[in-house]
């Protein structure tokens, strides 16, 4: 594996977060007092781990030998021909163990759990990819694991529920509120408040209180670092365009972060659900305004009274009314632009990529791919576009077949 190691981009022009966990105006720690000492401990555990070469080596060894890194950067030949503009590459996170980028983060966090002597792991999950990735590393390390998942998601991502159970995790069905990722996260936080002494909470995206957004970003930045060296070898230059889907935003920040100091045009794609004007969407950065949910200040879908609005997306992984605070800061700074595509556009893109490239993408990923039809109009023949192929679509086959009828 090449490129700098985790956490090394902190000295770049984009050296967020500050000492209080803020990315510009966003981030922070908004949690019950019970959790503050645990977050302090996590900050210091993470900082000492980051500076410890033995930890870095162990993390890289697991990424290589267990998670299957580095993942390929595949030239999408027929897709490129289809658009007839720039050259499209796919960063193949779908080929990671467990089928998505989520394992990059859970491998890192499980090592931190072991380092801090915690014996019980909890996690929230939407599509189930983070739940599976957490159950996987917990099994490997022999730790008890409990995953919170909304009732609606349990129904639409049944395969991942079975996988978690086979891996020995307990899946707790959350029936409150929206019965999706938002309430699964609230319930995981309540568990953590109640069991903070022996429990490590593995958050699955760049959300939550500091230091999670920073830590998860650092672990996911392996995506961008690998891409950087791979594209140099293939094209002899840095990418001109980067494209990724954004729910909480971990695969996007993982791809973008190492390139923030370059001239690459970066686009994050949110879920427009049934349309931005339908009120049934998950386009937090496009339609939300700043607010506090799940421990940090960031863009948030909310009503006029500051009550959190229900998100909607056909993709369980994007069906979240919040977004990582670093994305909020990147939006305000204009460094990254955020757009959205609808359920229908994502389904159409999933079919197109399956037929043209022989890759069935996850529904989340399909949102990024769907934006290509717009983005490619901006590109010239020799431009290089890298799309984060964040996960594979096995878990979504029921949805795909329902909608193809």
């Amino acid at each position: 594996m090449t490129g700098p190691r985790i956490g090394e981009e902190r000295g770049s022009p984009f050296s967020w977060p500050d000492g209080r966990g803020y990315f510009g105006l966003y981030g922070g720690q908004f949690v019950p007092e019970t959790l503050v000492p645990a977050l302090r401990e996590l900050e210091s555990t993470y900082e000492s781990a980051r500076d410890d070469s033995a930890f870095q080596e162990e993390y890289l060894r697991l990424l290589i030998d267990f998670a299957g890194r580095p993942t390929p950067l595949t030239f999408a030949e027929r897709l490129t021909a289809h658009y007839g503009r720039g050259r499209v590459y796919l960063k193949r996170e779908d080929l990671c163990h467990t089928g998505a980028h989520k394992i990059n983060n859970t491998v890192g966090q499980i090592l931190l759990a072991l380092r801090s002597g915690k014996t019980r792991i909890i996690a929230e999950t939407g599509a189930g990819q983070h739940g599976v990735a957490t159950a996987t590393v917990a099994a490997k390390m022999g730790l008890e694991c409990c995953v919170y998942m909304g009732e609606d998601d349990v129904a639409r991502q049944r395969l991942n529920v079975r996988r978690m159970e086979m891996l020995g995790a307990t899946v707790v069905t959350v029936r409150s509120g929206s019965r999706t990722l938002k309430d699964a996260t609230s319930e995981a936080i309540r568990d953590w408040v109640s069991n903070v002494e022996d429990t490590f909470y593995i958050i699955g995206s760049v959300v939550g209180p500091h230091p999670y957004p920073m830590m998860v970003r650092d672990f996911q930045s392996v995506i961008g670092r690998e891409t950087s060296s791979q594209i140099q070898k293939k094209e002899g230059k840095a990418p001109d365009f980067l494209l990724a889907c954004v729910g909480g935003g971990s695969n996007a920040i993982g791809l973008f972060h190492p390139f923030l100091g370059t001239r690459a045009v970066m686009t994050g794609v949110e879920a427009a659900g049934e349309g931005l004007d339908s009120l049934r969407h998950a386009a937090t950065l496009t339609r939300g305004r700043p607010g506090v949910l799940h421990g940090s200040l960031s863009y948030l879908l909310q009503d006029a009274n500051g009550q959190v609005q229900l998100a909607h997306s056909i993709s369980a992984g994007l069906d979240y009314p919040g977004v990582g605070p670093e994305h909020s800061a990147l939006k305000d700074s204009g460094r990254v632009r955020y757009v959205s595509v609808t359920d229908a556009e994502a389904l159409e893109a999933a079919r197109l990529i399956s037929r043209l490239e022989g890759i069935i993408p996850a529904l989340e990923t399909a949102h990024a791919l769907a934006y290509l039809k717009t983005l490619m109009n901006e590109t010239r023949k020799d431009d290089v576009v890298v799309v984060s192929l964040s996960g594979r679509g096995d878990k979504d086959m029921e949805t795909y077949s329902t909608h193809s009828r």
Partner: protein
């Protein structure tokens, strides 16, 4: 000195323990709050905490989650809660503390919230998500409005931090008796923790909350503190449709237990 600090120092001078009751605004019905507050104050509650419902109450257990969801369905907003406070103030000087989550306040406007809360007759604000570090955000508003900033300490809080939180607090120090969400059954009152808070927090009266539901538990917790806060146990009674006369009798029994020598 606002009504809250006045009542607490009055009780302290007479070596009496404080009884604070929490209820969710707009629960069980949208217009229940003023009447309930007056009844509870009449039955012996020294302080009333009014919960401002939020869609995602992550520090709350199932009982208060449920009441918050119902209250939101009843259409409760911050503006409506402040109306209820003004109604209560027409007839009662009972100290009123608003408790809630940050986002609805950000949405209402922080300056506007503190100004309106103060002019409506609120005495203090408790925001469980607002850590000591983040509380600097609201420091100016608290001092300008004269509202007490009530911060929380938990069993996981180190001793020097308990002291720092006490220093930054006004009115009283909210001592979360167990590591858990509201209403969670603790493993008995953690006497050791309460004794530690007593030693480290010398500025404010210490009120103990979370998981206290009987007169016996209240009396025990009060032995090591300046009073107790009861929330979920009251909401549970309301949710079961218990008549108000029976609820006020229960409140009086707790008041008596706290006052017994």
């Amino acid at each position: 000195m606002n009504r809250l600090t006045a009542v607490l120092s009055f009780l302290r001078d007479r070596k009496k323990k404080a009884l604070a009751l929490f209820l969710t605004a707009g629960y069980p019905a949208g217009d229940s709050t003023p009447g309930l507050v007056l009844s509870l104050a009449g039955a012996g509650a020294d302080i009333i905490e009014i919960g401002m419902p939020f869609s995602d109450p992550l520090a709350d257990g199932p009982v208060i989650q449920q009441s918050s969801a119902v209250a939101l369905e009843n259409g409760v907003t911050i503006a409506g809660i402040l109306d209820a406070v003004r109604t209560i103030r027409k007839t009662s000087p009972v100290p009123l503390v608003l408790m809630g989550y940050i986002n609805p306040i950000l949405s209402y406007g922080v300056e506007r919230f503190f100004r309106d809360a103060s002019s409506s007759g609120v005495d203090g604000v408790i925001l469980p998500e607002l850590t000591l570090e983040e509380s600097v955000r609201f420091r100016d508003e608290f001092s300008r409005s004269g509202l007490s900033q009530i911060l929380l300490v938990a069993p996981t809080t180190p001793s020097d931090r308990v002291t720092a939180i006490d220093e930054a607090s006004g009115g009283f120090l909210y001592c979360v008796s167990t590591t858990g969400v509201t209403g969670s059954a603790g493993k008995g009152t953690p006497d050791e923790f309460l004794a530690r808070v007593r030693k480290c927090a010398t500025k404010n009266p210490v009120l103990v909350g979370f998981g206290i539901s009987t007169a016996g538990e209240a009396r025990h917790a009060a032995l090591l503190s300046d009073g107790v806060i009861i929330g979920s146990a009251l909401i549970r009674r309301l949710s079961q449709g218990e008549p108000i006369g029976s609820i006020t009798a229960w409140v009086s029994s707790i008041r008596d237990a706290l006052s017994a020598e």
